[in-house]
Symmetry: none
Amino acid sequence: MSTPLWIFDTTLRDGTQGEGISLTAEDKVKIALKLDAMGVHYIEGGNPGSNSKDIEFFRRVRELNLNAKLTAFGSTRRKNSVCEHDVNLKHLIESGARAATLVGKSWDFHVHTALQTTLEENLAMINESLAYVKNSGMEALFDAEHFFDGFKANPEYALAALSKAKEAGAAWIVLCDTNGGTLPGEIGEIVSRVVREIDAPIGIHTHNDCELAVANTLAAVAAGARQIQGTINGYGERCGNANLCSIIPTLQLKMGYGCVSDEQLKSLTGVARYVSEIANVHMPVNQPYVGNAAFAHKGGIHVSAIMKDSKTYEHIEPHLVGNKQRVLVSELAGQSNILSKAQEMGLDVNPENMKSREVIDRIKELEHQGYQFEGADASLELLLRDAYGGTAQAFIVDSFKIMVERTGGAMVTEAIVKLSVAGEQVYTVAEGNGPVNALDNALRKALVQYYPGIRDIHLSDYKVRVLDEKDTTAAKVRVLIESTNFKDTWSTVGVSSNVIEASWEALIDSIRYALLGMDKDEYVPEFVGGTHGLSNH
Amino acid sequence: MSTPLWIFDTTLRDGTQGEGISLTAEDKVKIALKLDAMGVHYIEGGNPGSNSKDIEFFRRVRELNLNAKLTAFGSTRRKNSVCEHDVNLKHLIESGARAATLVGKSWDFHVHTALQTTLEENLAMINESLAYVKNSGMEALFDAEHFFDGFKANPEYALAALSKAKEAGAAWIVLCDTNGGTLPGEIGEIVSRVVREIDAPIGIHTHNDCELAVANTLAAVAAGARQIQGTINGYGERCGNANLCSIIPTLQLKMGYGCVSDEQLKSLTGVARYVSEIANVHMPVNQPYVGNAAFAHKGGIHVSAIMKDSKTYEHIEPHLVGNKQRVLVSELAGQSNILSKAQEMGLDVNPENMKSREVIDRIKELEHQGYQFEGADASLELLLRDAYGGTAQAFIVDSFKIMVERTGGAMVTEAIVKLSVAGEQVYTVAEGNGPVNALDNALRKALVQYYPGIRDIHLSDYKVRVLDEKDTTAAKVRVLIESTNFKDTWSTVGVSSNVIEASWEALIDSIRYALLGMDKDEYVPEFVGGTHGLSNH
């Protein structure tokens, strides 16, 4: 039997303190449902005393019957006051949450400097506030803010703060490394001491200011902490909170603790990506366990080894966390990368045959020209499918024209596109925010009548990189386009000395790839009779 | 006296194994110069045996007289062969680098599965290859690949591999957690054991697959490792390498080790951002120590506390690593910075006067719209000069028009510009590689007759970034343009929902800034009489 741990997710509260993270009540409800399905034990929903958005969230989430304990966050009562008159505590109790986390001071410096009160009054604030919340029928948790800094400065006082919380009946005492400056060795030592001296369930809450939040959490668990506070993708104030997406799999797969079920662990990558979508924050490609490159192999030697046995360069099996292996094709890679990629796509490849040699030569030639396929999986897939004869041309572009004009401060951008689709000529014009956007709009306008599904696709990122800086007059540019249909994301590449041409190439690849997905089996256009009006398919 | 450590940077080698990281030889030279100035002890430049780009880099960098030891990377010799016939080792020796790192196997599983040779042959490969490189006059380092996995599987064999390297005269024996799956406790224990048994200087090389690369490096140092291998911003294969930007300050500011000088440590944030710019990889805002939000405070309670004493919510003083505090509620990064910038330019600023308040409000407003002046000093300087009345408009653009057309595979891009210069109307047309290039050409053609010096200026880089916006149809783009006159380099910025408009803004700023330099004292156009012919000034 593995030792059970309690996962306390604070994405919806501490996570939103991160720069650029802002969640509506609706966003929070969506995320809470995902977290609940993944099996976290506590979901800290926000601070109902601080804003109406959080009050709305708590109202809506009550109807959802979550398995997780919904938790509201607030501070201990104001100094020189009583709990009964504290508006913040009142909101907390009225939130309808099953549990409340109260944050209080455990560092004497903070009591003097930030609170500007006496050490005794702070202890009374902790004790009375927790007892008050508990008496209201809620489970009461104590977040001992700056506990580690406090312990280093004045261990007796820091421990006294914890004792006061325990006396008040706190269900959990959570040790916070609020400033994120403590090292794993110190965390381990101090948590051991607390576990010996305070007879209450202990939790850990760390921040990532030294890139050590995960290590600090693991050190605390090894020393006896049993509740883990953190956020999805490590969102949070400054450098973020402890990243549950790294902590849960390490505890469960490598250290023998039980956090969630094996099935729930497989949802981790999906949850991480979902939350990053909702928060509209780009997920770093190299994020551990759940990132798109977490099991991506680029070096040629690495690739030829993983084809023999993936254990050679993978610390766990990616499917355990719902992620998958990828092979990146780049100039650093050998042909083994390309062949494994083609196999992954179900193409019949044989390293010996002429076709495979031709494809590899073609990719090498393109890379030499400045193409880079490691960030453009979809372009590579099209190239391989074309080479092995798997795709037809869904449409042919006869010509296009773009006009950008600025007179008197107003900017107009238009694109005209002439296409052949399903034996017909289509001629469309559209405006846009720029030449590429106008082209994209004109293309969609032409194609939507044949492929209505194209409406769900949009460009999510657009990057331009100038190649060969030395020879500036003939400088080439590489354009990378990322597209999404809210479910999948794919990337395409174009290279040219003309930025419009490079963008155009990437754009056409993006749309061709999307069409591939829409009608993969037969690849017959969803042609809707002779009319060019919008179809209802 | 603090214990000295040796910093081994492998951004240019292992860093480029990261997805989306691709550096030209020119990029690598630029980064090497920055790393050298920051005081790293080894700079691993690449694998001269693998591609011509790395060979070119090694050729160019030899002329730079770096303080750091330039290091070339390669593998131990091929199995069942001799060093004298090994092309890879030949390239290594011919690279002109002062040191060579040879990677070899120390995990028996890998010897069988990946190398497909005998355990004995692998030991011979290690021993002979290192001795061969050392005999050529280079310092020889041994990277023991998968050492920790190897030690756990077969400690005797893993240690035997190290002994063979030591026998051959390796200057450093570097223990690699290649798959990034080892935990800090295991790292500490195993390194202690190695330090006891192998009498040679020990290095550590970790990967971030469990988000533990930094913690693992620190654990190894605490156990006796003295060389640290890592990359700037943690770039590298899969989840990346150990991030030197987090490791160096923690070792130096918190653990009492000596890595670089205090002054060099202050360049850390600048180097991190420079490398991310060159690599064209977005730096996560919450990156520890060097990220833009690393010392950014959003929570209201936090902000009021840091106003009393910044130690309340900051684990170190940000200036120690060249970063700065930001308060997100007021949006603006250090108005004192802006005022000191204006003073630096010789402008008469007084924080009390109305003008200064207006400028700060204007910059705040622009930052809110997505402008970023950190990478666009020239735009900031123009903005400040304009505000304090220091500049006249050298020219006024009445209108412009761009046409891009593609028919039958040929691409034509033209721009027409109508300007007022020195009281005259100028109307020019030019072709280009793309709309921005055509605009640039038409502008120059119009201005060269008045400012002949403009001939020496060209765009050296052009970057487009889509800003994170929830509303994707109205997504804004930020364009950064870098220009050079072969002596100086300056950067300008433009933001708009239209990429051409954003480019146009940055372009106009670039030219205005150049003209400022040309005629700084009086700012009178070098007007050459009534003719529009080329002048010889």
